[in-house]
């Protein structure tokens, strides 16, 4: 009996701790996840790409605008079946931003024309409210064959 009570207590403690760490839903930030596709001359490092996206946002909107957009690169990977044509290197990735700054981030992405000397072009495939939804978009983009 004693044992059982102790166990219950510890569980309870754990639960309280977990909820204390999580932000309450009213204070959580609303986010959007942008699934994007990239074509480039040569392969591009994820770090170089992130630097270029950040620079683009800072140049377009300044420090305050960049802080408001809350941009973050969730993931970026090379597309597998890239064959044929001059755009041999393609990648897909997911970018996070604030829910009311989607158009601004889109414009900043469109302003990028090269990263570390490699010419590139970025297109936003779709926007989602969850990472799961965005990764579904990138998965379909990955499967798509180049016509």
């Amino acid at each position: 009996m004693k044992m059982k009570r102790a166990k219950c207590k510890s569980q309870n403690k754990f639960c309280v701790l977990r909820f204390a760490l999580l932000l309450p839903p009213t204070l959580r930030e609303r986010r959007r996840y942008l699934a994007f596709e990239l074509i480039s001359e040569r392969e591009i490092d994820k770090r170089a790409l992130l630097k270029e996206i950040r620079d683009s946002i800072y140049l377009l909107y300044g420090d305050t605008g960049a802080s408001e957009s809350k941009m973050w690169l969730i993931g970026y990977g090379k597309k597998e079946d890239a064959e044929g044509g001059t755009d041999r290197c393609r990648g897909v990735g997911i970018l996070r931003c604030a829910h009311n700054k989607v158009e601004e981030v889109r414009a900043a992405l469109a302003c990028i024309h090269s990263a570390s000397g490699v010419r590139l072009g970025i297109r936003v495939i779709g926007i989602s409210g969850t990472i799961k939804g965005a990764s579904r978009l990138t998965a379909t983009a990955r499967k798509q064959k180049i016509n």
Binding site: I39, L59, T86, A110, C111, R119, G121, I122, N147
Partner: protein
């Protein structure tokens, strides 16, 4: 949201650049365009005015020409040379006299005015009025925004904002183009709309300038009306 047919009226391809037309079309179709116009410089295309695009791509790509003239007489001569032979005539503007001669000429389809280049004047409200009268569209070249940084870009955006104000006032036709020289310069229509919002263009205006107006220019919608009126 209804589906629009998007067009890009200023794309440069082989032989002016190294990119073949097929390559550009492949990327443009994936980006969601309904058509692009290949406007190479007339110097490069000399002697090939009558040349047609291969039939496999003829329903997607349209032939055009971009005229770069140094004097007004030269400009007029070249416009007369290409009028009727090429479906789309784009004139790269420069000095005030050149812009005036272009906008007073109903044979021209699109004027690409200089945006903030040193030593070159842009458009004034009087000239935009001529553009509205003669149905000459005014191009907003987004490649200038993409490829410039800091003070250059600020100047270009300021100039575009100013011209957009005149265009709204006199109801002239704005056209958004990418002026792409390679496949990496092309941008998808939604990105073009987002870029246009940087100089104060509303979303509906930008979509209109990317879809309905270019389509009308390619079909010669407004020019035909003018011809009927003259008869």
């Amino acid at each position: 949201m209804p589906t629009f047919k998007f067009f890009d009226l200023n794309v440069h391809a082989y032989p002016e650049t190294e990119v073949p037309v097929e390559e550009l079309i492949r990327v443009a179709i994936r980006y969601g365009y309904a058509g692009i116009a290949i406007t190479n410089y007339d110097e490069v295309m000399k002697g090939k005015e009558g040349e047609q695009l291969p039939p496999s791509i003829a329903n997607f790509a349209f032939r055009g020409i971009e005229i770069r003239a140094k004097s007004v007489s030269e400009l007029k001569r070249r416009i007369r040379l290409y009028y009727g032979k090429v479906p789309l005539i784009v004139v790269r503007g420069g000095s005030k006299e050149l812009n005036e001669a272009t906008l007073k000429n109903p044979m021209v389809d699109v004027l690409a005015p200089p945006y903030g280049e040193h030593g070159k004047e842009g458009l004034t409200h009087v000239l935009v009025r001529y553009a509205a009268e003669n149905d000459v569209a005014i191009e907003f070249n987004l490649n200038a925004i993409i490829h410039s940084r800091r003070s250059d870009r600020a100047r270009i955006l300021g100039k575009m904002r100013e011209i957009l104000k005149f265009v709204r006032k006199y109801k002239a036709m704005p056209v958004i183009t990418s002026n792409a020289h390679s496949i990496y310069d092309l941008r998808a229509p939604r990105e073009m709309v987002a870029l246009a919002s940087l100089f104060g263009m509303r979303k509906e205006e930008a979509v209109h300038a990317l879809s309905d107006i270019p389509e009308g220019i390619l079909e010669k919608k407004w020019k035909k009306r003018r011809e009927v009126e003259i008869i």
